[in-house]
């Protein structure tokens, strides 16, 4: 078990290295010249070739790619992610200001998706083919096939513009988070609700469910006590995947709701060809994706008694 943890963690670190190297290479290969951009910033339109060449030389941009990557990596592990070409501030400062907002968005959305999916999935399974089940199935399909920018627009029109219950834009207290949370939770919540429903149904057809009935449990008790623990592992795995996908959703949602998080910064960085900012955010994404998957993997192992306590031969 412990060896498994070590192996997974080691693998995750390797994966982070490989993924950051790949994004580094891709960003380097993207059109645009960092030295030229910096020169333009410093001297306006009057930046000449000599100045650009000097900047490139000073920054070591003429070194081979692996050398540049290792230099970048060395700085990054010490918390130095460079200075944003767009805002002129160190990326560590940008991160400190923006990560909490994105995390609040993802955490709130994650909790909402969790609650939504469990309530919908369980209610559907209790109804078992009844009207509630069919209704929830339809709702989940709609939720999983509506793009988040559309959801965001509809929510803003109804709850901010028409009803005036919550602010349309920016961060101003708890209520300003409600619409972003709902928007970002709708897709994963709907997908996970189907995962709960389908896996519960599968579990209810397994022999141990019949044993549950034979023990004298009502159908609802069999669902909650016998079937529900058995969907934990597929549920956790899908939740991890959906949670990482929420980061992609956050890029759109932060833009629409004016939350100055990492996602909004990333869009701006691309628009302004802020290579340093892009590289730093991409690295953050890689770390986020790999860590969430690692945590889910380990949590799933801990949740399954067959993996947690393997039978001794």
């Amino acid at each position: 078990m412990q060896r498994m943890f070590m192996r997974r963690t080691g693998l995750a670190l390797l994966l982070m290295l490989a993924a950051t190297a790949l994004t580094f290479a891709l960003v380097s290969a993207a059109p645009g010249n960092v030295a030229a951009l910096i020169a333009e910033r410093a001297a306006g339109a009057g930046a000449d070739g000599e100045m650009i060449a000097k900047i490139a030389n000073d920054l070591g941009l003429n070194d081979p790619l692996p050398v540049r990557y290792l230099r970048w990596l060395g700085d990054a592990v010490q918390g130095d992610f460079g200075v944003s070409l767009r805002t002129g501030k160190p990326m560590s400062e940008e991160f400190a200001a923006r990560i909490p907002k994105t995390l609040a968005l993802l955490a709130g959305g994650g909790v909402l998706a969790l609650a939504l999916s469990l309530v919908m999935g369980l209610a559907g399974a209790v109804s078992n083919g009844g009207i509630v089940d069919k209704l929830l199935h339809g709702l989940a399909l709609v939720g999983a096939s509506t793009p988040n920018f559309f959801v965001a627009a509809m929510l803003v029109i109804v709850f901010s513009v028409m009803l005036g219950w919550v602010p349309t834009f920016g961060v101003s207290g708890f209520t300003s988070w409600l619409l972003p949370w709902i928007t970002i939770a709708l897709f994963p919540g709907s997908v996970l609700a189907r995962v709960v429903r389908v896996n519960l149904q599968e579990a209810m057809s397994r022999p141990f469910a019949t044993t549950g009935f034979a023990k004298g449990l009502t159908r609802r008790a069999v669902l909650l006590r016998e079937a529900l623990p058995n969907i934990l592992i597929p549920y956790m795995t899908t939740f991890g995947a959906q949670f990482t996908l929420m980061m992609i959703g956050a890029i759109v949602v932060e833009r629409v709701f004016g939350l100055n998080g990492i996602g909004a910064f990333f869009i701006e960085a691309i628009r302004f060809r802020d290579f340093i900012g892009m590289q730093a955010v991409l690295m953050l994404f890689v770390v986020f994706f790999v860590s969430v998957n690692l945590i889910v993997d380990i949590a799933a192992m801990l949740a399954d008694p067959r993996l947690r306590r393997p039978r001794k031969a």
């Binding site: 078992n128 044993t211 034979a214 023990k215 449990l217 016998e226 058995n230 008694p305 067959r306």
Partner: protein, 335 residues
């Protein structure tokens, strides 16, 4: 013989899936008394499991079940009970042991606490007493080191141990009728005998009525007081184990017994298989359902459904649904 604790009369069970409907049980009656073991014998698909688990509402989800007849347990007809009443009866009155303990026990739940919760709910014990009861049930079911096994998950026990745990689980609610659905089929041959012996011991000690569903003639001879031979949802023959096993009358029973390998016989040719396959119960036939495979078949067999006739007198009547053999062998009937 004691008064029956569970008595089923004229049970008809139709099963419906989206594509087919099947008459799985067609007018079967049976009863079982405290301390007695009734074996229900038949090949796969004969309806023996449906006949016993159907009235208890233990059919898989997704199969619509239509039950007719009566099934009296504890003075009530369980076919008329509401789902919640039936749930309560399933836990306290009936205990069920299933075929494959590896899949019948929940892989995510520890064994002991399940037993304790049953003892708490149905035997009215306190949490502490229920835990003690659970440990003693594990011990009684022949599980070594029961204190340790209490906190084990199913995957940490062998198949034989799991079936013992399954038996303990069924007993935790102190049932009056124990239904064992092919309890040894999934187990190693050496373990099978141990499990049968365990069921027998517990039954004698507690005076529980046992319904044993099996296709294992060996298990029948070890455990059963009475036997019902089921073919395609209908009772072909019934009587005491001795009557049915030593003096079978129905051609199907004879075929079934002849197909059991006899290790004392000198050649392997001692076994005979029954030719053909069981009928498709989705297409009901008016006559004897065994007619197509029977070597004594006559024209009337296809048109007239044979009724059970009593061929032997005694405390337990020996009854056979085959007028052809009765007439051919001049067997005296007592109806």
């Amino acid at each position: 013989m004691n008064a029956p604790v569970y008595a089923v009369e004229n049970l008809v069970i139709d099963l419906y899936t989206p594509s087919v409907s099947v008459r799985a049980v067609d007018g079967a009656s049976f009863h079982v008394s405290p301390g007695e073991t009734l074996a229900i014998v038949g090949e796969s698909g004969s309806g023996k499991t449906v006949m016993t688990l159907g009235p208890l509402g233990l059919m898989p989800e997704g199969v619509a079940v239509d039950l007719r007849g009566t099934a009296r347990a504890d003075g009530r007809d369980i076919l008329t009970l509401s789902p919640s009443e039936l749930s309560a009866l399933r836990g306290g009155f009936f205990g069920v042991i299933f075929q494959d303990p590896m899949s019948a026990l929940n892989p995510m739940l520890k064994i002991g606490p399940q037993l304790a919760s049953q003892a708490q709910k149905y035997a009215g014990l306190s949490a502490e007493a229920a835990r003690k009861e659970a440990v003693s049930l594990l011990a009684r079911s022949g599980i070594p080191d029961p204190e340790d096994r209490y906190d084990r998950y199913p995957h940490e026990l062998s198949g034989g141990m799991l079936q013992r745990a399954m038996i303990a689980l069924a007993l935790a609610a102190r049932p009056r009728v124990l239904i064992a659905d092919e309890p040894t089929t999934a187990l190693d041959a050496t373990v099978q005998a141990q499990i049968l012996a365990l069921i027998r011991t517990i039954q004698k000690e507690d005076g529980i009525a046992v319904v044993l569903i099996t296709h294992d003639i060996g298990a029948v001879s070890v455990l059963a007081d009475r036997v019902i031979v089921l073919y395609a949802g209908q009772i072909a023959e019934e009587g005491t184990a001795i009557q049915v096993l030593t003096a079978p009358v129905h051609p199907y029973t004879r075929g079934l017994l002849a197909s059991v390998p006899d290790f004392r016989s000198e050649s392997a040719t001692g076994t005979k298989e029954i030719p053909g396959i069981p009928p498709n119960q989705a297409q009901l036939m008016p006559g004897c359902r065994f007619a197509d495979r029977c070597d004594m078949v006559q024209a009337t067999c296809h048109s007239h459904r044979p009724r059970l006739q009593t061929v032997g007198l005694g405390d337990v009547p020996h009854r056979v649904a085959c007028p052809v053999v009765i007439a051919a062998e001049g067997i005296v009937t007592h109806d």
